[in-house]
Symmetry: C2
Amino acid sequence: MDEFDAIARLFMPLARGAGGAYDLKDDAAFLKNADGAGYVVTTDTIIENVHFRRADPMETVGRKLVRTNLSDLIAKAALPKFAFLNLSWPHDRSQAELAAFAAGLGDDLGNLCGNTILLGGDTTALDGPMVASLTLIGVPVGSRPVLRRGASPGDILCVTGEIGSSFVGLAQLDGSLTPVLDTELSAIYQVPQPPPLDFAPLVGRFAKASLDVSDGLIADARHLALVSGVEAVIDLDLVPLHRAVAAWRDSHIDPLAATLACATGGDDYQTLMAVRPGEVGALISAAADLGVRVTRLGVCRAGASVQCRWQGARVDVPATGGWRHQVG
Amino acid sequence: MDEFDAIARLFMPLARGAGGAYDLKDDAAFLKNADGAGYVVTTDTIIENVHFRRADPMETVGRKLVRTNLSDLIAKAALPKFAFLNLSWPHDRSQAELAAFAAGLGDDLGNLCGNTILLGGDTTALDGPMVASLTLIGVPVGSRPVLRRGASPGDILCVTGEIGSSFVGLAQLDGSLTPVLDTELSAIYQVPQPPPLDFAPLVGRFAKASLDVSDGLIADARHLALVSGVEAVIDLDLVPLHRAVAAWRDSHIDPLAATLACATGGDDYQTLMAVRPGEVGALISAAADLGVRVTRLGVCRAGASVQCRWQGARVDVPATGGWRHQVG
């Protein structure tokens, strides 16, 4: 049983059909207040040896924890305001490491998240891997968050930034990809680069459906497609890559395999959006004004699945299309 | 460095002096909405081999996770409405155990927490001990939560339920206390018995300051005393004990030591309150109508510390007076 099955079968009933829970199938929940306004709440856990390496500098782990959550809020067109931290800290790590973790976390909550306030949390110690959960409570830039559902046939799929840098960066750190293409890629694995706060209003203005790319581009496109009730068609040759990754792909014996590795690697923390065809140009232009690259990736068609193409021809994609947490 | 030092030095600055964070020194935070209403938010983590035993039935672990959080809300005079679950599930545990955990969690969120809705969360898998965090979002029964601060000299200290049952119950399970006094005590360790939802309005009506007893009665009395700026004086011979624990104490070679073990053992999840002297009788009577035992424990005096007495004579108490998580 994997994460998604477990959630669907065991935990979804506990949402009791509440509107803002979206059957636990979205990246965030909407907590509607009596006055009609509301909060967008997201929470993500990162675990040593799963989401980061034991050797990663603790200051980068603090930043990664913030950014994995921030990318969810940006993709929902929401801005973070408050945070709660649940930190389970290994006995064998030092005070200096704890201070470095707090420094990275604090700097990103401050500078990247518009002075988001740490309102509470729980600090515990354990014999085992470090486990840290952050809950971000934000406010939607409009009246409500942008959801995974909402895409229609004809919509264009667009994504921010670059895909696969983190996957390649991890392979470099682990020594499974040699020679090293560019040390910047490993830095991106350790400190993801989600779109900035001021991109959230563009998500609200242009995206009919949206989510952050964390499990893998193809897997997350499938999530959007299944919940929206469309077929997401991705042109893999359009997937935006870091220049070093693009050069690696182009010199690879199998450029399609290299691209698929990037599109299923996960850990990207970019925003994938479905946009009306006539508005894509305006989105790309408005994003460019913020220094954010937005790339047209494919289209939505009638159906309920994901399909990939390479140089116009259909390509079989892995069944899951991304990394899935195995549970139980 | 222990948990409290770490929070004070490293994380308190990240609260940016926000009113509802209470300098991260309370059991819950207050998230005030634009319309003046607000949410009371609490979050607690439980870890295998720290807060529960590996052999404990998973259905009880699900319940314990809910109850450790619920007791915080009750003590703040708030009622739970929404929950978020961060579950890090060991690879070596079975699907049946996961289903049992979800069943216990779900039953308590439903029946004990007034159909609290699971709004979201994150499920991950790990090689290591199970780690589970629950965040409860509640609403205060009055206009704001009851805090740790607010006690004045002359106030009476009262506590709900019984103290030390969980400590003795764990000792029974671990075989460090033989013969077994009463199997009910181990059941209380596994499934704590906080006051029910309908006790929250009594906290709001009668308590000037309040918190849940989780670190240990003496340690938590010290928390209330230091934040309120009073000296908490506890008459240890008044500490309410389960009948089996009281019999054990009375037959113990050192009844004071047995009582101190209960008053420092922690894991009680009862509510400790400071109440005006003239209102204690009304509180005890109103609580009795709900089937909740409330016991007068001691008084608040001028000062900023905790003092214990045994049969009227002053007793030296352990420096910490409870179990403190060691961090770093």
